[in-house]
């Protein structure tokens, strides 16, 4: 069986989510904004889904805005607020590009992180002042899995930038953290369906009542004038279904997958000489989400490694792909102070709701010899282990 270890990129859909969306693709076609009975049926499905999504996020149904994915939710949160009242935007350096690029486009401030990817609270203080209108700090990082101390971030923001709203990108946290509790201090929370067993192209933004937000997409006034466009009924019910199941099983999934991840990480560290667990160099994984094993492997290049893993039917990822598909060293790793040569040897193995012990077994069987082979064929000297740890 192939080992799919790229859940942080996209998860397999939950069968229940597929079932939930099928009638809305196959049998029902009315626009939920319409005035007739079939339209009202669709509207009811959307309303009920909205209740589920709101519950999963600890929000009121009226605070949920459905979007075409996590990127749109992040853009709406960051730019929608800025469009309404301007001011200075602040984000951590390891945010997803869906946050970083909007913040950069408004000449915002970027706050550094430490070697484990945790936001530097002193640097945050420096970036905060009364002009700041929005601070965006993700709950859990998509590459290395670091969980940010959002409560502490919120304290600093309330104290030094009292006018600012707090946005958190919870896209990678939804499967692993009690997001209701963890995102409680946030005014804006982004999620994505396909990271939790839902379909691609579906997301949501929870907007706490009273949060200044201008729509980014103008149209027919849907979503209480916060996001124009015909509602994607099938996607919305599938998102709700996936979220409901994710929350229902989350504690068990975290426990089960956490054990798998630990076995994977520990096994690889033992079998791959000089490999470094990027965000837990001392082996303490308490600040990481349960599904991510991120390694930096000196003396190899990720794009070559991924090819050999694919030959062994292990599907993983590394770095970040540019538009051409070329692998670039990750800006997240750069922000954490990982040297560029070492970042070229990064490997992200991400488990999810349906990962199995077989996946881990296969990865442990395929990865060490693949690394050994690449090191054997490398014409340039391998990066010495002594100098390879993140600076």
């Amino acid at each position: 069986m192939p080992a799919y270890l790229d859940h942080a990129a996209s998860t397999p859909m939950r069968p229940e989510a597929i079932e939930a969306m099928l009638p809305w693709l196959r049998d029902h076609h009315a626009n939920p904004s319409g005035a007739h009975r079939p339209a009202r049926q669709a509207r009811r499905a959307v309303d009920e889904a909205r209740d589920d999504v709101a519950e999963a996020l600890g929000a009121d149904p009226g605070e949920i805005v459905f979007t075409g994915g996590g990127t749109e939710a992040d853009n709406l949160a960051v730019l929608g607020g800025h469009d309404r009242r301007g001011g200075m935007l602040v984000a951590s350096a390891i945010e997803h590009p869906a946050v970083l690029e909007p913040v950069r486009s408004r000449a915002g401030r970027i706050v550094g992180v430490d070697a484990q990817g945790l936001i530097d609270l002193d640097a945050l203080d420096t970036a905060l002042d009364p002009e700041v209108t929005l601070v965006s700090v993700m709950l859990a990082n998509n590459e290395v899995g670091t969980v940010q101390p959002l409560d502490e971030v919120a304290d600093h923001v309330r104290r030094l930038a009292p006018a600012a709203t707090l946005h958190t990108d919870a896209v990678q946290a939804m499967g692993w953290l009690d997001v209701v509790a963890a995102s409680a201090p946030a005014d804006l929370v982004s999620i994505s369906a396909h990271k939790v067993g839902g379909p691609k192209g579906m997301g949501a933004l929870a907007v706490r009542r009273g949060t200044p937000l201008a729509p980014r997409q103008l149209g027919g006034g849907q979503e209480r004038d916060r996001r124009g466009g015909t509602l994607d009924v099938a996607g919305i019910v599938a998102l709700a279904t996936a979220l409901r199941l994710t929350v229902e099983h989350r504690t068990a999934t975290v426990a089960r997958v956490g054990v798998l991840r630990d076995r994977l990480a520990t096994g690889l560290l033992a079998a791959v000489p000089d490999a470094i667990e990027t965000a837990a160099p001392d082996g303490d994984r308490s600040r990481l989400t349960a599904g991510i094993c991120h390694l930096c492997i000196p003396g190899i290049e990720s794009e070559a490694l991924l090819f050999l893993l694919e030959q062994g039917e292990v599907y993983a990822s590394a770095g970040s792909s540019c538009a051409s598909g070329a692998m670039e060293p990750s800006p997240v790793l750069a922000a954490m102070g990982v040297r560029r040569e070492l970042a070229f040897g990064s490997l992200r193995l991400s488990l999810g709701w349906c990962s199995t012990a077989d996946d881990v077994d296969r990865a442990l069987e395929v990865i060490p010899p693949a690394v050994a082979r690449l090191r054997r064929f490398a014409r340039r000297p391998a990066v010495a282990a002594a100098t390879a740890s993140p600076a």
Partner: protein, 352 residues
């Protein structure tokens, strides 16, 4: 045989991949991402990678993208810039072939378990006099690229395939059209991929090194005026010397960046009886006696007598080429001169 085909998104490499597929090989296409900056040709652009990927899809073969951008800077762009600082005229395409398209790609191909790599170059690999593979001119004389490949070591050629080298460009396009490849009508790439036509070398080098003013002096020692950006002047250059409309044509015959002097002369002053080559590479034993020497990518080969200089470790460190059919235009320092015997590449070096 498992073959990794370098696919640029152009018609030659698309057809190269197609021919290998038709020959029954297990083919994987790869596009090397080399340059991330501005480019006219869009080389390495998303559009080119798209073309390569779509051509691979048409052939039903896998397509990968390798990011060799750091190596490209180290082995091609940085030396290109450094050569201009010294007043030399480098050939970055040759260095790219040497370090990226062959050495680096072969390293990767070996590590990934491929038996050979292939490219869309118009050149052939033949059996040399000693039985080992040798580079030879492609079947299409007008498109021959053996000049830019002379630096590929013979030992590596055993694992290189150049499928379109036996075809003319017209045949390549016809084959692409026959196969319905979407790259069939794509124009040929031109010039140095990382230099744009709008900014040219001046903008590229000006951003990276300070361009310095100099003086133009004729061969008689008379000052002929100032010049802006002496690093941009190439031996043999006629335009851009600030001397247009001053009588007979003047050419740059020597560039001394350190002294800040460009020496100009007339057409006769540009001619030379000989050229010295350094940084030599050989396909086999260094030639003695006579060879054909080609001084630019599409230059006319000229007969030359080969006179070895002092040896280091049994091989000459330099050679002098003495033109046998009368004086030839001076070769700009840093340019490659490639030696042939018939169609076969014997080796070459850089003009001193």
């Amino acid at each position: 045989m498992r073959v990794l085909v370098a696919m640029s998104g152009g018609v030659d490499s698309s057809v190269a991949a197609a021919l290998l597929v038709e020959a029954g090989h297990d083919v994987t296409g790869v596009t090397m991402k080399l340059w991330g900056g501005d480019s006219d040709t869009g080389c390495c652009s998303v559009a080119d990678v798209d073309d390569a990927r779509r051509a691979a899809q048409q052939l039903d073969v896998d397509h990968l993208v390798f990011n060799f951008g750091d190596d490209f800077l180290t082995y091609v762009v940085d030396p290109y810039v450094a050569a201009h600082v010294d007043g030399r005229t480098p050939n970055p395409c040759i260095e790219c072939n040497r370090h990226l398209k062959f050495d680096r790609l072969l390293e990767r191909a070996d590590a990934l378990g491929f038996d050979a790599i292939a490219t869309g170059h118009h050149a052939r690999i033949v059996v040399g006099p000693d039985g080992s593979p040798r580079l030879a001119r492609g079947a299409d004389a007008a498109k021959d690229q053996s000049y830019v490949l002379y630096v590929v070591p013979p030992a590596d050629l055993a694992r290189v395939r150049l499928p379109v080298g036996e075809m003319t460009k017209a045949e390549v396009r016809a084959e692409a059209a026959r196969l319905g490849l979407r790259t069939a009508a794509k124009p040929d790439s031109q010039d140095v991929c990382f230099i744009t036509s709008t900014g040219g070398r001046r903008a590229f080098l000006g951003d990276r090194i300070g361009l310095h003013p100099g003086r133009v002096v004729d061969v008689g020692g008379h000052d002929r005026g100032p010049i802006d950006g002496i690093e941009l002047v190439t031996v043999g250059q006629r335009k851009g010397l600030g001397l247009s409309g001053t009588g007979e044509p003047h050419y740059a015959v020597a560039v001394d960046v350190a002294a800040g002097v460009v020496t100009v002369g007339d057409a006769a002053d540009l001619m030379s009886d000989a050229v010295t080559l350094t940084d030599l590479v050989w396909a086999g034993p260094p030639p003695t006696g006579e060879a054909l020497a080609q001084c630019s990518a599409h230059g006319t080969p000229r007969r030359a007598g080969v006179v070895p200089g002092p040896s280091i470790g049994g091989l000459p460190a330099t050679i002098d080429l003495q033109w046998l059919d009368g004086p030839q235009r001076r070769v700009a320092p840093g340019q490659s001169v490639v030696l042939y015997h018939g169609d076969q590449v014997l080796g070459g070096g850089l003009a001193a």
